[in-house]
């Protein structure tokens, strides 16, 4: 296989896997921020909770990895509803500053709580054999786990696209993102919609945390150290846009991977430089509305 083609395949494949993790965690944040304008900086904490729950389920209770992921998604979605009903809803109409304060406070609490339970040592899980190792595609091999991440990501994109574009619920959400007041005045219960999207978004964040576990390891700082990337994806994609979040995750994920591969010395700059360039040109993001 010629080296150039090999490089391109490497970058696209690794970039795609990275993009899928970014997409899965960020999409919920984008929709909830788009729907209510709610600045939820605790989103990373929900991802972290998903990751830790996956660790506990597989390690202490012997649940298989895939089953643990599913349980984590459902459990975190359910828990997030409790937070939404008791805390978040009080601040729907508050200023974004108050929302920042609340969600940073929650993040701090989460960090302390997870340190208390799991300690500061990074946690990971042993992958089942069918996810470890490599798949031989004939001309080269691909890490199985990354193929799995890409598959999960693409499946989610399909399901979410269908739910968003082809169902009544999706239409309601899109209407509410466009114009909340108008949506309310035609009888859409935006509060309920928000609770629902918040739960789904947090569940997806938990899934992202469970998947990222293998790539980054899980420590109590997870809630903050990766938050910056999620915000980047949401802003570059455009608030409340599924298509935009996907596009942003792909652009940022692949550019970041290409930067690391081709210009390792400047690798750290690239994701930020690309984000700045896109936002300067399109302030509302790739698929946002001005």
């Amino acid at each position: 296989m010629p080296p150039l083609a090999n490089i391109v395949v490497s970058i696209l494949f690794d970039g795609l896997a990275y993009a899928m993790v970014l997409f899965i965690v960020s999409v919920g944040l984008s929709v909830t921020m788009g729907l209510m304008g709610f600045v939820n900086l605790a989103h990373g904490a929900f991802a972290m909770a998903g990751g830790y729950l996956t660790v506990s389920l597989t390690r202490s209770m012997g649940v298989p990895f895939l089953g643990a992921l599913v349980i984590a998604v459902i459990a975190i979605a359910a828990v997030s509803v409790v937070f939404e009903r008791t805390l978040y809803r009080r601040l729907y109409r508050a200023s974004e500053l108050d929302q920042v304060l609340l969600t940073i406070g929650l993040t701090f609490l989460a960090i302390a709580a997870f340190t208390w339970v799991y300690g500061p040592v990074p946690q990971s899980v042993r992958l089942p054999d069918y996810l470890a190792g490599q798949i031989d595609a004939g001309f080269r091999t691909f890490p199985t786990y990354r193929v799995f991440i890409i598959a999960v990501g693409l499946a989610l994109v399909t399901v979410l696209w269908f739910a968003f574009e082809r169902t009544l619920l999706g239409a309601k959400i899109r209407a509410a993102v466009d114009n909340r007041r108008m949506a309310q005045s035609v009888g859409i219960d935006v509060d309920r919609l928000f609770t629902l999207t918040f739960a789904v978004g947090s569940g997806l964040a938990a899934l992202g945390g469970g998947l990222a576990l293998q790539l980054f390891g899980m420590t109590p700082s997870f809630a903050v150290v990766y938050l910056v990337f999620f915000l980047l994806v949401v802003a570059v994609g455009g608030l409340g846009s599924l298509k935009g979040t996907l596009a942003a995750a792909l652009v940022l994920g692949i550019c970041d991977t290409a930067g690391k591969y081709l210009f390792a010395g400047a690798g750290g700059f690239i994701i930020y430089a690309v984000a700045i360039a896109i936002l300067l040109a399109r302030p509302a993001g790739l698929h946002g509305r001005d």
């Binding site: 490497s10 990074p122 990971s124 690391k260």
Partner: protein, 403 residues
């Protein structure tokens, strides 16, 4: 007010003296990252400090030791923390310091206050030159990376090597030190790859893919010993570098003992240079690991940072005993530590009287699957009594006149 309280103290002191038990309570400041991304490193050293104090409290009777623990994590400024330990908490020594920037920031304070600082991790080579009160028990990256350079060229058959490092001072040092030793021994560096910053564990795959495409004999790595090391080794296996015959080499930071078991098959065959591994076969280490396992369980073994912290605390106990608890004269304490040596879990270590930096044996260790199925280390070779090579070779800042 102040005078009154010192009078009270004087009276108390008299009372104790009259009672005949001239026991002092020596307060020692412990500065470690208890919160934030480096909390994991802090905990490995904190456990060692606590354990030593618990095991050996009787050794310094009638004196007592009290650890005053302070967070080195986010939100704390090292200078303030160390200043208050000295001026408010009246500590006689400070120890810990996982992160070089905090040791560097606090150096002028310990010089001004004449309080010894016993470093149990911070690895930037020239730190010891910043103050005559600094004594280091851990290492500089040059202790391990430089001998690894010549060892890998001479003994491991690494004719070409790609270097990957986390892009911050210890990583840059580890890369430069390795390269210096490696090229001098005739090795050829195939690629040098900075691999992201220490705050976030990056997706290592693109870096490793680049290595795979360069097809070197060996891949030398430095990453911080927290979440980075596990992530790196996993990706090393996933990308198929091992299968492609590119050997993973590095410093012990890449395979810290307390993360080894999670790394899986990919790590078997990796060869690292370092002064400590939990599997080292010497009496001091056997006792240390046994005590540690009894206290903290077999699943969380001590690592090279724990060993350095253990030795730093042993040195503190030695000083307390020798000076009979009178530690007010910091210069005297440092004098006592110059040339200090002990049979440590790392083997025989000593403090170089010239540089106040540690002198220790560095071991090339291979990661193997042990008979009981667990991952462990096997010593391949020993480089004896290694001094900080940065100062020996007078590289850059290490060559400048210090204290």
């Amino acid at each position: 007010m102040k005078r009154a309280s010192s009078m009270v103290l004087a009276v108390l002191g008299l009372g104790v003296w009259a009672g005949g038990a001239a026991g002092e309570t020596i307060r020692v400041g412990v500065v470690l990252p208890y919160s934030g991304v480096n909390a994991d490193l802090g905990s490995q050293m904190d456990k060692a400090f606590d354990l030593y104090v618990r095991k050996h409290a009787g050794d310094i009777a009638p004196h007592k030791i009290e650890l005053v623990k302070r967070d080195e994590g986010p939100g704390a400024t090292a200078k303030t923390v160390v200043t208050e330990l000295i001026t408010r908490d009246k500590v006689k020594l400070v120890t810990g310091f996982a992160l070089s920037p905090s040791a560097i920031a606090a150096a002028p304070v310990v010089t001004q206050a004449k309080v010894p600082m016993l470093i149990s991790n911070a690895g930037t080579a020239w730190i010891t030159q910043l103050s005559p009160y600094i004594v280091r028990f851990s290492f500089s990256m040059w202790h391990q990376a430089h001998p690894m350079g010549s060892y890998s060229a001479d003994k491991l058959g690494c004719k070409t090597t790609a270097i990957g490092y986390t892009d911050y001072p210890p990583g840059k040092d580890a890369a430069e030190a390795f390269r210096t030793g490696y090229e001098k021994a005739g090795g050829k560096v195939a690629d040098v790859i900075p691999m992201g910053n220490p705050a976030q564990v990056p997706d290592f795959t693109p870096f490793l893919q680049r290595v795979k495409d360069a097809k070197p004999d060996c891949f030398y790595v430095f990453v911080p010993s927290g979440a980075h090391s596990a992530g790196l080794v996993k990706s090393y296996g996933e990308v198929g570098l091992r299968a492609a015959g590119v050997r993973l080499i590095g410093t012990t930071d890449v395979v810290p003992d307390n993360k080894l078991q999670d790394m899986g098959e990919a790590v078997v065959g990796a060869i690292v240079m370092g002064a400590y591994a939990a599997d080292l076969d010497n009496p001091a280490n056997k006792a240390f690991v046994a005590d540690w396992t009894a206290a903290y369980g077999a699943d969380a073994p001590p690592d090279f940072m724990s060993a350095a912290a253990w030795d730093a605390m042993a040195a503190i106990f030695h000083v307390i005993k020798t000076l009979d608890g009178k530690l007010d004269d910091g210069a005297k304490v440092v004098e006592l530590l110059k040339g200090y040596s002990r049979k440590s879990p790392r083997g025989e270590i000593s403090i170089d009287p010239m540089t106040r930096d540690v002198v220790q044996d560095e071991r090339a260790m291979e990661i193997v699957r042990k008979a009981d199925g667990k991952l462990g280390t096997k010593v391949l070779g020993v480089v004896e009594k290694v001094k900080d090579q940065c100062k020996e070779l007078k590289v850059g800042r290490c060559g400048q006149a210090g204290n």
